[in-house]
C-alpha cells in the first residue's frame, strides 16, 4: 500500500501486439469474443432445434434432412466437406467461448481473492440484481459442455448409444431416448441450457455495447423468448419418445 505517487509506469503495455492478440488479451475483448461466439452458437442451437422438429414428420423426413446436410455444396465441394467446415467453425467458436470464459473466471476469482488471501465476505450476501441464471453461468456452462460431449458420443459418433446405426438418425434418437435416465439427463441439461441462454442472450448485447434506449426493453424479451423456444423444442423430443408419440 503506497500513499505517494510519482507518475504512472511508462504508459506502454506489455501486451502482445498482433491485432487479435492485443484485442483478445483484454477482458473487454474476451467478453466481445464470448458475445460473438455466443451469437454463432445461439444461431446454431436455433437451427439445430428447427431441423430436428422433422422428427415429428417421421423417420424418412428426418433421415433425408440428415443426408442433405452431408451433401450441401455438392458438387462444388466433395461430400461432407461443407459439414466439416461447418463443424470446424462451430468447434472454434465453442473453444474460444470456453477459453475466454475460463480465463475470465480465473481473473475474476483472483479479483475477489484467491488462495491464501481470500477476500470473500464473511457474512451472506443478499443479491439484488444478479439472478440465479447469471450467478450460475459457470456451472451451467460446465454441465452444458459435458452434455455436448456426451450428446456427440451418443448421436453423432454413437459410441455410448445403446443401439447405433450410422445414418439412421431417427432410429438412433428413439433408441437413445427410450432409456429413461438418458431422457432425464437430456431434459435436465436442456433446462440448464435454457438458463444459460436466458442470461447469455441478454448479456451479449451489453458485451457488444448494443445499448439504445429505444430497443433496450426488447433485449430481455428476446433472451427470454429465445431460451424458452429452444428449450421447449429440444425437451419435446425425449418426451415425445417416452410418451410414444414418436417411435
Amino acid at each position: 500500500m503506497t500513499t505517494t505517487r510519482t507518475g504512472t509506469d511508462g504508459g506502454t503495455t506489455s501486451r502482445p501486439r498482433t491485432f487479435f492478440g492485443e484485442f483478445y488479451a483484454s477482458d473487454v475483448g474476451k467478453k466481445w469474443v464470448m458475445a460473438v461466439t455466443g451469437i454463432v452458437l445461439l444461431t446454431y442451437l436455433f437451427v439445430h432445434m428447427l431441423g430436428n422438429l422433422k422428427i415429428y414428420l417421421g423417420a424418412e423426413h428426418l433421415n433425408t434432412y440428415a443426408e442433405w446436410l452431408r451433401t450441401i455444396l455438392e458438387p462444388f465441394m466433395p461430400r461432407t466437406a461443407f459439414l466439416w467446415l461447418f463443424r470446424i467453425v462451430m468447434l472454434t467458436a465453442f473453444v474460444l467461448h470456453i477459453h475466454a470464459a475460463y480465463v475470465l473466471t480465473v481473473h475474476n476469482w483472483k479479483a475477489r481473492g484467491w488462495g491464501s488471501r481470500p477476500v470473500r465476505y464473511h457474512t451472506p450476501r443478499e443479491y439484488l440484481a444478479a439472478d440465479y441464471a447469471s450467478r450460475t453461468m459457470r456451472w451451467s456452462g460446465v454441465i452444458i459442455f459435458l452434455f455436448v460431449v456426451w450428446h456427440l458420443l451418443d448421436l453423432t459418433i454413437g459410441s455410448v448409444n445403446p443401439d447405433f446405426i450410422a445414418g439412421d438418425v431417427y432410429h438412433n434418437v428413439v433408441a437413445s431416448f427410450s432409456v429413461l435416465w438418458i431422457s432425464l439427463f437430456y431434459i435436465v441439461a436442456n433446462l440448464l441450457l435454457g438458463m444459460h441462454l436466458y442470461h447469455g442472450a441478454w448479456s451479449l448485447f451489453q458485451s457488444l455495447g448494443w445499448n439504445n434506449p429505444r430497443f433496450n426493453p426488447w433485449r430481455r424479451w428476446f433472451a427470454t423468448a429465445f431460451a424458452v423456444i429452444v428449450v421447449a423444442g429440444n425437451v419435446s423430443f425425449p418426451i415425445a419418445v417416452l410418451t410414444g408419440i414418436v417411435g
Binding site: 505517487r5 510519482t6 504508459g11
Partner: protein
C-alpha cells in the same frame, strides 16, 4: 513583528491585474523544474494550483489527508459558480460582479482583490467547460444560468445540485494528468502538522503518515496552503467531518497573521438538528430560495400541521421585511431573520428549531415536474434525512455555520506574512469581506488556483534561482519534527476520561451560543473564559487510545481539536474587539432601530490581522480598507 503590505498595484482598478501580470518577474520555462513547490490540500484551490504548476513545469509535491484528492470538501458545494459572462443579457458585467461582491461582503474586503476575482471569473467558466465539466445546458446547447441569493442578475452556472463535485472533478482530473506525467508527486493520507520556517521564510512542512504514524519532513522553495475553512470549530457545521484548521493554525503560530477570524458565514438553508448525537448539519442549496417561500406561523402556539395553516396566519417574514429582494436576501440577513423568528418562539418542527421553506406555490405555478427537474436531488436528500416529503410538507430549515470568510492574511500576491507561504481559497481571508455571496466560493477557489497563484508565485521564486531547498536534516526541520512529536506524545499520554470528540462537541456549543449569529460583549467575554477553561480540561482529561504507529483516527482528530481550541479563542477575541455589526458578524450593541446590522466605518474599516505571540496573547495589526470604486452605504435589501 509583522508588517501588512498589501502590494496592491497602482493604477485604475480595471488595469491593476493586467499591469501586475506584466510587472511580475517571470521564471524561464527551462528553470521552472528547478523550483520545488509544496501544495497542501486538493480542493478546488489546491488541485487547480498544483495542476497548473505542473503544466508550467514546476516541480510539485501535493499533500492531502484524504485517500484520494477527489474527496476534498469542495466536492459538496451544491449551488453553482458565478461568472460575469452576461450570457442571459440581463445587465451583468465584471464591474457589477465586483460591486455586488464588495457590497455583499459588507465593505470589509480589499477592492483590488475582488475586482481581480470578478475579472478572471469568465476564464474559469471557459476553463471548466473545456475540461468537460457538464454544466447545465439549454435546449439550444448553450450554457444555462440561474440567479442566486443576493444577486439581481442570473450569473450562476451550475451542474444540477452538484456543481462543486463537477468542478472539483475537473481540477482533480487535471491534477492526476500531471501526476501521470510525473510532474506532480501526490501524497495521500498525509496530515500536515506543522510549517517549517527558517530565517523568517517558509521552507517546508512536517507531515504525519495517517496509515503508519511516520513523521516526515518535506522541503521546498515555496509552500502553498489550500486547506479550506475552519467552520468545524463549531463542531456542528456543514463542513465535512475531517475539515480542520491545523495547517493554517500551525502556520499562524509560525508567524502568519490571521485575518478577521470572527467572520463566519452561517448559511440559512440547512436541515435543523434533530437529535443530540448529530455529527453534522446538512446544507440544502441556497438555490431553493429561488422558488421556495420562507414563513413561520404568526402565532407561536400554532400547533397545526403546516398545510392546514391558512395564508392569513402565516408570516412570510422575508417578503414582508425586504420587499425588493424577498426570499433572496443575502445569507447573513436571511440567517439572522430566521434566528429572530426562532428566538421569538415561532420556530417550527418538534424542537421548534426551524422555519418553513414552502414550495406549494411554486408547484402550483410551475408544476411538480418543473420543480423536480430543478431541485429533485435536493428534495430526495431532504426526504432521506428527515423522512418527510417536501413536495407535500414544507421543508424545515435552520441556519448552520458554513463558510469562514476569515483566514490567513495574504497580500495581492496571495502571500502571507511569512515569505514563501502562500494561501489560497477559503483558507485565506481575501475576497469575501464579512459575508460571502452564494456561488462565490467555488469562483474564488478556482480563481486563486488556476489564474492568480501561477503568476504571482513567480515574483517570489524568480530571485531564488540557483538556491536549493533546505535539506530536511537541517536543524529547522529537526526542531519542528520534535515539536510535532511532543504534541503527539502529549495527546497519547494524557489518558483522561473523555474522547477528544466530546470536547469538540462542547466547544461547539460555546461557539454557536456566543460566537454565532448574535454576539455581545458579555457573551464573548464569557465565551473566552469558557473556552480557556474547557481547553485546560481538554489537555488534562482527553483520552486517546492506541499508538502513534498505527492508523489511529482518534489521535489525528485530537490533534485537530487541540488547534480548534486555540483558534476558537482568537475568534472570540476578534469578535469582541470588532464593536460593529457587519456581514456575518452581528454585534447586538450595534444595530439599527429595526434590528438590522449597523456598520461603523469610521472605526472598523480595516482588516484585523492577528499576530500570534502565545496562546491567549495576540497582537492586533490593522490593514486599512479604502474604497475608491464602491460607494459605502448601509446595505439595504428592502
Amino acid at each position: 513583528m509583522i508588517t501588512l503590505e498589501s502590494h496592491v498595484p497602482d493604477g485604475p482598478i480595471q488595469e491593476k491585474w493586467t499591469k501586475h501580470r506584466f510587472d511580475i518577474k517571470l521564471v524561464n520555462p527551462a528553470n521552472k523544474r528547478k523550483f520545488k513547490i509544496i501544495v497542501v490540500g486538493t480542493g478546488l484551490a489546491g488541485a487547480s494550483a498544483a495542476a497548473t504548476f505542473g503544466e508550467l513545469g514546476y516541480n510539485v509535491e501535493v499533500f492531502t489527508f484524504h485517500d484520494s484528492p477527489r474527496r476534498a470538501h469542495s466536492i459538496a458545494a451544491q449551488g453553482g459558480i458565478n461568472a460575469a459572462k452576461n450570457y442571459p443579457n440581463d445587465g451583468d458585467s465584471i464591474f457589477r460582479l465586483f460591486y455586488d461582491t464588495v457590497k455583499g461582503g459588507d465593505y470589509r474586503s480589499r477592492e483590488a482583490n475582488v475586482y481581480r476575482l470578478a475579472e478572471v471569473s469568465n476564464e474559469i467558466i471557459d476553463q471548466c467547460v473545456a475540461q468537460g465539466v457538464p454544466f447545465a445546458r439549454e435546449y439550444g446547447g448553450l450554457l444555462a444560468n440561474r440567479s442566486f441569493g443576493g444577486a439581481l442578475v442570473s450569473r450562476t452556472f451550475y451542474a444540477r445540485g452538484q456543481t462543486g463535485q463537477q468542478l472539483l472533478l475537473g481540477a482533480y482530473q487535471a491534477l492526476l494528468r500531471q501526476v501521470h506525467e510525473g510532474k506532480v508527486k501526490l501524497h495521500t493520507r498525509k496530515d500536515v502538522l506543522d510549517l517549517v520556517t527558517h530565517e523568517g521564510r517558509a521552507v517546508g512542512i512536517v507531515v504525519r503518515d495517517l496509515l503508519t504514524g511516520e513523521l516526515t519532513s518535506h522541503s521546498a522553495h515555496a509552500v502553498v496552503l489550500a486547506t479550506g475553512g475552519y467552520a468545524n470549530v463549531y463542531y456542528l457545521s456543514t463542513n465535512a467531518m475531517n475539515s480542520n484548521a491545523t495547517a493554517i493554525w500551525r502556520a499562524h503560530r509560525r508567524g502568519a497573521a490571521f485575518a478577521n477570524p470572527c467572520f463566519v458565514q452561517i448559511h440559512p438553508t440547512c436541515i435543523p438538528q434533530s437529535e443530540e448525537f448529530q455529527s453534522k448539519l446538512t446544507l440544502m442549496s441556497e438555490s431553493l430560495r429561488n422558488d421556495g417561500r420562507i414563513w413561520v406561523p404568526k402565532d407561536p402556539n400554532d400547533t397545526r400541521p403546516p398545510q392546514q395553516i391558512p395564508e392569513e396566519d402565516r408570516d412570510y417574514y422575508l417578503e414582508r421585511r425586504y420587499p425588493a429582494f424577498g426570499n433572496l436576501v443575502p445569507r447573513d440577513v436571511a440567517s439572522r431573520a430566521a434566528k429572530q423568528m426562532i428566538d421569538e418562539g415561532r420556530g417550527v418542527g418538534p424542537l421548534k428549531n426551524g422555519v418553513y421553506l414552502d414550495f406549494s406555490d411554486a408547484i402550483a405555478r410551475l408544476g411538480k415536474q418543473a420543480i423536480e427537474e430543478r431541485y429533485g436531488n435536493l428534495f430526495e436528500m431532504y426526504e432521506r434525512i428527515t423522512d418527510e416529503n417536501p413536495y407535500e410538507v414544507p421543508m424545515r430549515i435552520y441556519p448552520a455555520p458554513h463558510y469562514t470568510m476569515g483566514g490567513l492574511w495574504v497580500d495581492y500576491d496571495l502571500q502571507s506574512t511569512v515569505p514563501g507561504l502562500f494561501v489560497l481559497g477559503e483558507a485565506n481571508f481575501s475576497d469575501h469581506g464579512a459575508n460571502r455571496l452564494g456561488a462565490s466560493a467555488l469562483m474564488q477557489g478556482l480563481a486563486d488556483g488556476y489564474f492568480v497563484i501561477p503568476y504571482t508565485i513567480g515574483n517570489y521564486l524568480a530571485p531564488m534561482l540557483g538556491t536549493q531547498p533546505l535539506p530536511t536534516d537541517h536543524e529547522a526541520f529537526v526542531r519542528t519534527e520534535a515539536d510535532v512529536m511532543a504534541r503527539i506524545r502529549h495527546v497519547l499520554e494524557v489518558d483522561g476520561s473523555r474522547s477528544a470528540a466530546w470536547f469538540h462537541k462542547e466547544l461547539g456549543k460555546i461557539m454557536i451560543q456566543h460566537v454565532g449569529m448574535a454576539r455581545s460583549e458579555e457573551g464573548l467575554t464569557e465565551a473566552i473564559s469558557q473556552i480557556r477553561a474547557l481547553r485546560d480540561e481538554f489537555h488534562r482529561d482527553m483520552k486517546v487510545l492506541g499508538t502513534n504507529e498505527s492508523f489511529n483516527q482518534a489521535l489525528a482528530n485530537a490533534l485537530r481539536v487541540w488547534d480548534f481550541f486555540e483558534l476558537a479563542e482568537l475568534m472570540a477575541i476578534d469578535a469582541l474587539h470588532r464593536r460593529e455589526s457587519c456581514g456575518g458578524h452581528f454585534r447586538l450593541e450595534s444595530q439599527t432601530e429595526d434590528g438590522e446590522a449597523l456598520r461603523d466605518d469610521e472605526h472598523f474599516s480595516y482588516v484585523a490581522a492577528w499576530e500570534f505571540k502565545d496562546v491567549g496573547d495576540w497582537e492586533l495589526h490593522k490593514e486599512p480598507l479604502e474604497f475608491e470604486y464602491v460607494a459605502l452605504s448601509q446595505r439595504s435589501y428592502k
